[in-house]
Assembly symmetry: C2
DNA sequence: ATAAATACCTTGCGATACAAGGTACTAAAA
DNA sequence: TTTTAGTACCTTGTATCGCAAGGTATTTAT
């Protein structure tokens, strides 16, 4: 029930997590560990339990596809990549993100 | 189950809605209708059913306080205002927001 | 064989936006 | 005086999603 800053920051993260993940996969096909590493480099900590369901949803919505690929050390990996629909979708998120930045700026600067 | 852009945009909104609301109340005490109007002006559509529980949570967490105030036409209104803790909290959200903008920029610009 | 490392996935929980519906007060019209 | 309209407050139920915790499967080294 109580609200704390961490809580809200985590709420903020929810919103743009999908966006960030798609930005990363858009560059080149990636599997879960790669994605987590990339996010961590950008200071965005995400765990497996978050990522697997999210990727599955994006897959079944036709935004992502994947290919199995052998690994040199361990079981095969699922490399996710954007579909054409996925690129379209990412473009829309891009817009959404710009809108949000706009809204916050508008509110901040009003009556100042 | 299906994912669409509207859905995700609404997810994005969730994250920074609290931030925007606090930014608005920080300027001067406001009651629900005022807040909705301000948000609408910034293109952020929010309904009562969202706002009331959110304000209650912020109140019981000590981030907001309120004062009843008579209205010229209708029942009295609850004017919410930031407490000292609330200002501290808002400052933390400010940081969180800057961090998020940073993360997105980092991911966007990596390997370009 | 067994253990360790790596990879995939699922279940249960808590948080929260939103739709829909409800209560209460004021003032003006019937 | 009753009724209606307007304004304000609040609650309940639903769906979604991040995350912690736990589980399964494959490969490689001991």
């Amino acid at each position: 029930m109580a609200i704390n800053a961490e809580n809200v920051k985590s709420q903020m993260r929810k919103g743009y997590l999908e966006y960030c993940i798609l930005l990363i996969i858009a560059k080149k096909p990636m599997y879960v560990s790669d994605i987590i590493t990339e996010l961590k480099e950008a200071q965005l900590i995400v765990v497996e339990g978050t990522l697997y369901p999210l990727l599955s949803r994006l897959k079944s919505s036709g935004i992502l596809g994947y290919q199995w690929q052998e690994s040199l050390q361990g079981p095969p990996r699922k490399y996710y990549e954007l579909t054409d629909d996925g690129r379209q979708f990412l473009a829309e998120l891009e817009e959404g993100w710009e809108e949000i930045k706009n809204v916050v700026e508008l509110i901040k600067n009003k009556n100042i």
